[in-house]
């Protein structure tokens, strides 16, 4: 379970990743394909949109986890609820992309490696542990949605525009 400290560590370190999100996405997929080249055919040739989607989804999840225990009674709209979105995501990965359970480990490794590259010294033992725990829980949730075909999950929606990452790099403001 994520503690308040875990959630804070994730939110804080994510803020450091945001400005280099394009690089982070590059690093992530490069590492993923290194770890398991058989995954390459699952992705399109032009990865630009895919990379943006990945970072947007991560951004959504990080924001969705960022609430204090004291706010447990508050609700959020179902279209912005981490669990429901992640379940929908898991179902789509299973049904459309035929992702297998073992692939989640590879993705987790690539993600932690990417964060380590991007954060450098800021990727402390605590930060690493928090991300690992969060990824493990999210991955488990995605995997558990494999049989959710007939259930009334929201169709994987377009995440609201507020989760779009600011364009950075030479073209940015």
């Amino acid at each position: 379970m994520l503690t308040e400290a875990d959630k804070k560590a994730i939110a804080r370190s994510w803020r450091l990743v945001l400005p280099i999100s394009e690089t982070a996405a590059d690093l992530f997929y490069r590492r993923l394909f290194e770890l398991n080249p058989s995954l390459v055919p699952l992705f399109p040739t032009d990865m630009t949109a895919q990379k943006r989607k990945l970072m947007k989804t991560l951004h959504f999840i990080v924001k969705g986890l960022d609430w204090p225990d004291s706010a447990w009674a508050e609700s959020v709209d179902e279209k912005e609820d981490v669990v429901l979105i992640v379940l929908a995501l898991g179902r789509r990965h299973r049904q459309l992309y035929r992702v297998e359970d073992r692939h989640y480990d590879t993705v987790g490794q690539a993600l932690l490696w990417t964060l380590e590259q991007g954060l450098g010294e800021a990727f402390t033992t605590e930060v690493r542990a928090a991300w690992k725990k969060a990824y493990w829980l999210i991955a488990m949730l995605m995997k558990s949605a494999r049989d959710a075909g007939e259930m009334e999950l929201p169709l994987m929606p377009e995440l609201p525009a507020e989760y779009d990452l600011p364009a950075v790099g030479p073209a940015g403001p």
Partner: protein
């Protein structure tokens, strides 16, 4: 909007363990229920989670934290179904953070295990022929397993502290004993209700806690008073921070304690902890009747509605029912006091309020500071006050259909 239950997920516990599942589900902010089934489809229980918190857990026999522990350890659980609850849901108070509860369940600390059931001193009902079950003289079925009188178990409850619950228990108990009934006062408040206002000896004595934990038998903990027919079961030595965790005592431990108490007394008056959490609710579930104590004051009146709703939920399950409402600390000359009572009691059936109401009176405060019923404050007690408790006792015995009449005269309640 009525509450809707939307199916979200279904799966096998071979693929994901129950602690993992509830932890994952509670990453989100929706109310989620998890139903657990045995491989034959038989439902074993359900959990309600939201935002990292366990809000409720139930099995056919248990409710609360202990039900969660039971479900975590239930080897028959094979499949799960997850539903999202949408609509108006009264915000419950969480039983705890899921991760700490899971830790608590595996750490095996002695207090978290249900107390071992005491060796049965009496034959089980199932050991006897059904024909042994006969109605008792008082009209209550007295099963073969519970010979002798089976008294009425009455919980005295309030939505907040400081409303004079303990004073009421003591004085009502005295007045009922005065009428010739055998009365047992049970101090079920871990923070010590009765014990606190009585003597040092009572405060140090073993009691409810030691019985629940299986360290003492009920009979060894009873403290006779000098008043014929009035006995006290003290709270015992609750660990300082254990009030909240008193959930962990299994429902059967509480029901065994109270049922055994009822075998030895015609009326068991239970002084509960204030509020609707932990011990108070565990106790209420095993009582026949609840007397709600309403302090005639605005703040108290507001929270009192919560208590009534709560009892209402229990009553749907058949036990306990709301036996009556005692209005306490009534200030005749203050409009606010009248308004508070009026607000708290609106839409309730007339006749639910017990008569008479208890006025705000310094003598009552004094008597409770000595830990005695007002009747024992010889020099000060105006006859009107003792008369009030006598009349309340009359009202109560009429409601319960028990009671007779002799009297006696004593000075102090215990040594």
């Amino acid at each position: 909007m009525a509450m809707q239950k939307i199916a979200v997920l279904r799966g096998s516990l071979n693929d994901i363990s129950l602690p993992d599942l509830v932890q994952c589900l509670s990453l989100g902010r929706q109310y989620m229920t998890v139903e657990l089934e045995a491989s034959g489809g038989h439902v074993l229980g359900a959990l309600l989670v939201k935002s990292g918190m366990l809000l409720d857990a139930s099995t056919p026999q248990e409710r609360g934290k202990h039900a969660f522990f039971l479900l975590l350890g239930d080897s028959r659980a094979a499949n799960f179904a997850v539903f999202r609850l949408v609509g108006s849901l009264q915000t419950p108070r969480p039983l705890g953070r899921i991760d700490s509860l899971v830790l608590e369940s595996v750490s095996g600390e002695p207090d978290s295990a249900p107390p071992a059931p005491p060796a049965p001193a009496l034959p089980r009902a199932s050991d006897r022929a059904p024909s042994m079950t006969v109605p008792s003289a008082s009209g209550f079925p007295a099963s073969a397993a519970a010979p002798g009188p089976s008294g009425r178990i009455i919980a005295v409850c309030s939505s907040k502290g400081g409303v004079g619950k303990t004073t009421l228990v003591l004085n009502l108990g005295d007045a009922l004993a005065e009428r010739g009934l055998s009365v047992l006062l049970v101090d079920a408040d871990p923070m010590g209700g009765l014990g606190d206002s009585l003597t040092h000896r009572v405060r140090q004595a073993p009691g409810v806690y030691e019985i629940l934990t299986g360290r003492h038998a009920l009979a060894d903990c009873l403290i006779p008073t000098r008043l014929k027919g009035l006995t006290i079961l003290p709270a015992g030595q609750w660990p300082p921070d254990d009030g909240e965790d008193a959930w962990r005592f299994s429902a059967s431990a509480w029901s065994e304690l109270l049922d055994e108490a009822a075998r030895g007394a015609e009326v068991v008056l239970v002084d509960t902890a204030a509020g609707l959490q932990g011990v108070a609710t565990s106790v209420m579930r095993h009582c026949d009747e609840v007397l709600g104590v309403l302090q005639a004051e605005a703040l108290s009146a507001r929270s009192f509605r919560g208590l009534l709703n709560f009892i209402g939920q229990f009553s749907k399950e058949g036990r306990p029912r709301l036996g009556g409402i005692v209005v306490n600390m009534f200030h005749y000359q203050q409009g606010a006091s009248h308004h508070a009572v009026h607000d708290a009691l609106r839409d309730l059936p007339p006749g639910i309020v017990m008569q008479p109401v208890i006025p705000r009176d310094p003598v009552l405060v004094e008597a409770s500071s000595y830990g005695v019923p007002v009747a024992l404050l010889k020099e000060h007690a105006p006859s009107a006050l003792t008369g009030i408790f006598d009349s309340l006792a009359t009202d109560l015995s009429l409601r319960l259909g028990v009671g007779r009449g002799p009297s006696r005269q004593v000075t102090t309640l215990v040594d």
